[in-house]
């Protein structure tokens, strides 16, 4: 078993090394794939906070991801093209949407919560599809990637660097939250709500706070993803996206700090590789996911470094 800390360092170094080597070898597209991993890992890190640390199985995180993307797309279409100006708006959009959806959904627990978040996600999706102002189903192109002063964001490796730094920041924030008093209360809300109640802490407030932070991080990832593709569309809001975000987290290891990154890396690699193997590659993907759930609980990180240490 490899200690989780080492594994995390290896993941961080690997995710940095691959695009740097790719640039040296002139393989620009590999940089794009690595950027995708970093951004989806960031979105997964947001979900992981709610899911892994708070035990809130949200099947509607595509809503925050997509709304963050739309924040970037809509601002860009109105001429606001500076990333430092766009990001706070995307974070706030994701957070506020999570506040609204969470406030209602967290009145429920368990399987109700899963279905409710899924349904609210669909509601946002249908709204985006049928609201004509910003392209509806056709989506909204961002003709030139938004800017960050001092950097050329159109250069794949520089854009990767931005995504990578934001990913590290979000993971550092997650680690701090997990270790804080709030994080302990959140773990308590996951493991034993009744005891939490007994010491006078309301689960609802704790869970809602975690859900809002989670939505905000996923919203930021959405803005970056929009810039990666130079395009936003309702597909980002679809239930399949919610499912994929869940897959990243679980594939990597639920509640493990770098789990979503490991999961996203594996997923993106598989998608890229299996797509070339067969037209019916999604069958293979399904089979693999099934195998992970049945036989490799704890995901990649659980497989390599064993069950989490209980703190």
């Amino acid at each position: 078993m490899i200690p989780e800390r080492w594994l995390n360092v290896a993941l961080a170094a690997g995710l940095l090394a691959v695009p740097l080597l790719a640039v040296a070898a002139g393989e620009t597209f590999t940089v794009t794939l690595a950027t995708k991993v970093a951004i989806l890992g960031l979105a997964g890190a947001g979900l992981n906070l709610a899911l892994g640390y708070g035990g809130l199985v949200s099947f509607g995180h595509a809503a925050f991801f997509g709304l963050g993307g739309y924040a970037a797309g809509i601002l860009a279409s109105h001429g606001i093209v500076s990333m430092p100006a766009i990001w706070p708006v995307a974070i706030a959009t994701g957070g506020l949407a999570a506040l609204a959806i969470g406030a209602l959904s967290l009145r429920t627990t368990g399987v109700y919560f899963i279905m409710t978040t899924l349904a609210f996600g669909q509601m946002v999706y249908y709204f985006a599809v049928s609201w004509p102002a910003y392209g509806g189903e056709d989506g909204l192109p961002i003709y030139v990637r938004n800017r960050f002063s001092g950097l050329d964001t159109l250069d794949p490796i520089q854009f990767f660097a931005l995504a990578y730094v934001l990913l590290l920041a979000a993971l550092a924030l997650t680690a701090r939250i997990a270790a804080s008093r709030f994080g302990l209360a959140l773990a308590g809300a996951r493991q034993n709500p009744a005891r939490l109640q007994a010491v006078g802490i309301r689960r609802y407030g704790i869970a809602l706070t975690a859900f809002v932070i989670s939505g905000a991080i996923t919203g930021l990832a959405g803005a970056l993803y929009a810039d990666l593709n130079r395009f936003v569309s309702p597909a980002m809001l679809s239930w399949q996206t919610s499912g994929e975000l869940l897959v990243f987290v679980i594939l990597g290891g639920t509640g493990r700090l770098w789990g979503p990154v490991a999961g996203a890396a594996l997923y993106v690699t598989l998608e890229h590789w299996l797509g070339g193997v067969s037209d019916y590659w999604r069958f293979l993907l399904g089979l693999l996911l099934l195998g992970v759930v049945l036989f490799a609980r704890g995901g990649v990180i659980g497989l390599l470094s064993g069950p989490p240490r209980h703190g």
Binding site: M115, S130, L246, L294
Partner: protein, 315 residues
């Protein structure tokens, strides 16, 4: 020439017809929701692949009807195929997940959706299949108050209500029903009583799957039989059981009818209602946008008042 959209006052017979349409959609959703809610109530399993069983039913019906020329044989095949697929999946995969948390169940059944969809595409190709109503049920009938309504849709309403009654009878009055209710209340208890719980679970799952397959076959004649047809219905069925209360057949029925009628009337009435305040093309766009969100608003309202749904026993 100036164009105008005729703003007709809504006639009573049109309204009645739309209510019937809502009931028909509701009854169809009930067939889906009943299986979902039963499986959750008894085994505590959330099954995203329920929509795939619906698709299996539709494809089995279309393929059999095409081969034999008989819709009724197709209907029987849909029940058999969906039940068999359900039982197979239960035995091979899902029974390992009863003791797991919902998260694992969600992921595993998400994986099953991918596999079912691609396997169906591999077997039947990427083009939609043909399935039509049997000749004996084609056409429309005159109802009182000048309503003309398709006979086939009336039959769906009838079948759905009959299935609802059958389920109430099954669960309330039979030995199997006693075991199902016991299984919901206390799993160890009925195992201790010597009931083969593994067989009971497979049976319940196959029953739920058969209902989904039936819904798929019945609706397949009205719609397009194609890969991916199950997921939109699945999500509506989720809304239904959240509103009705998970585990409750009565809740599934009431929730399904509520969702069916709300959705249909919203789509039919909202755009023209908004037309009173706005110019027509804007009103239709905004009206349709709001109508598409209406059932989710309904769900939110129910959650505010009763977080466990209208008839939910446990949250």
């Amino acid at each position: 020439m100036p164009r105008s959209v005729r703003c007709s006052a809504l006639s009573a017979s049109l309204l009645a017809e739309q209510v019937l349409n809502g009931l028909q959609l509701g009854v169809m959703l009930f067939l889906m929701a009943a299986g979902l809610t039963l499986v959750f109530g008894v085994m505590g399993l959330i099954n995203l692949a329920h929509g795939s069983l619906y698709m299996v039913g539709a494809f089995a019906c279309a393929a059999t009807a095409a081969a034999t020329g008989s819709f009724w044989l197709g209907l029987a095949a849909s029940l058999a195929a969906a039940a068999a697929a359900g039982a197979l999946v239960e035995i091979a995969v899902l029974r390992r997940l009863y003791a797991r948390d919902h998260l694992d169940q969600v992921l595993a059944t998400f994986a099953l959706i991918l596999m079912f969809s691609e396997a169906t595409r591999w077997l039947f190709g990427s083009f939609p299949l043909y399935l039509d109503v049997p000749r004996s049920l084609a056409g429309a009938v005159e109802l009182p108050f000048g309503i003309r309504y398709p006979l086939y849709r009336l039959m769906i309403i009838g079948v759905g209500l009959a299935v609802a009654l059958g389920l109430f009878w099954l669960i309330g009055r039979t030995r199997l029903g006693v075991r199902i209710r016991a299984g919901e209340a206390d799993r160890e208890m009925i195992a201790a009583l010597g009931v083969d719980i593994a067989r009971l679970y497979t049976l319940v799952f196959a029953l739920g799957a058969a209902l989904a397959g039936l819904a798929g076959a019945l609706v397949g004649t009205l719609q397009s039989v194609q890969v991916g047809m199950g997921e939109p219905v699945l999500i509506l069925a989720f809304v239904v059981i959240v509103i009705g209360g998970i585990g409750s057949i009565k809740g599934a029925l009431v929730g399904a009818l509520l969702v069916g009628v709300t959705d249909t009337l919203g789509r039919a009435l909202l755009p023209s209602a908004l037309g009173a305040f706005m110019e027509p093309s804007g009103a239709t766009a905004v009206g349709s946008a709001i109508a598409s969100m209406l059932i989710y608003v309904l769900m939110a309202l129910v959650l505010v008042v009763r977080p466990a749904g209208l008839f939910g026993a446990r949250a």
